[in-house]
Symmetry: C2
Subunit: 149 residues, 2 copies
């Protein structure tokens, strides 16, 4: 079989570059990691610090400081979990939601452009394929966990 990794490497690098260039919203400069954090907070249900840090594969100490920055920028809010006082629930402020939405729009506009090069059938095939992939990855033991050792 052909080199699968190459295929994925090329694809994810391109998407990553896009992501990297996509994070300036109305004078407010957002770093790539910050944009990822906003995205995850926006897309998980009442997430804790630990949950988001795990999703992103960043150390919790690094993450803790990143959240501090985002709070200073007034994009993210921390609320103590009433049921467990150790836990901080993360959410976006109104401004944070606006920024996250704006990035989302830019990314989607780009992806629309990419997909506009395909016909209807190809589009559907590709989208279904990514669903398949995401599903398979989520079932895989190796995915998203450090290799032991």
């Amino acid at each position: 079989m052909e080199n699968l990794r190459s295929l994925f490497q090329v694809m994810t690098r391109r998407f990553g570059l896009l992501n990297k260039n996509c994070c300036s919203v109305g004078g407010c400069d957002i770093s790539l990691i910050q944009s990822h954090i906003l995205y995850e907070i926006d897309n998980q249900h009442n997430p804790s610090m630990q949950q988001i840090a795990d999703s992103l594969g960043t150390d919790i100490t690094t993450f803790s400081r990143q959240v501090q920055s985002l709070m200073k920028m007034n994009l993210v809010k921390k609320t103590p979990d009433p049921a467990d006082k150790r836990i901080s629930i993360l959410s976006l402020t109104a401004e944070g939601k606006y920024i996250a939405g704006s990035i989302d729009q830019q990314m989607n506009a780009f992806l629309q452009e990419v997909f506009s090069q395909m016909n209807e059938f190809e589009k559907e095939t590709v989208i279904r394929s990514i669903h398949l992939l995401n599903n398979a990855m989520s079932k895989s033991s190796a995915c998203c966990k450090p290799f032991q050792g």
Copy 2:
């Protein structure tokens, strides 16, 4: 249409995490960026510093220092371009090739595992889809270039 960005974000995050955890080869610890550099040098034809830096979207000054590290680790070699003395051609040493190959193997093993969850038809569809995507992305103006502004 559904949120395309979400689909891609999930997929590329998972692949990225894998990449991140995939870089330890026989006691030799390779960072994610370093692994990307090795990959690009291995997969481009007689690449210059600038070419690889551009491919990865890193500043040339940062990249210059990263190459210095990799040369100290004896994984990468610089050769002056005979036709243009300003240019340095990058290549992998034998050890660099071994490391790059080893990472490639680990990544492919993981991807095999992921694909093992699909039937033959699904596999082919997914692989063809990624080809389609990479093609479309390479044609897109927005891809891999900074947004103006």
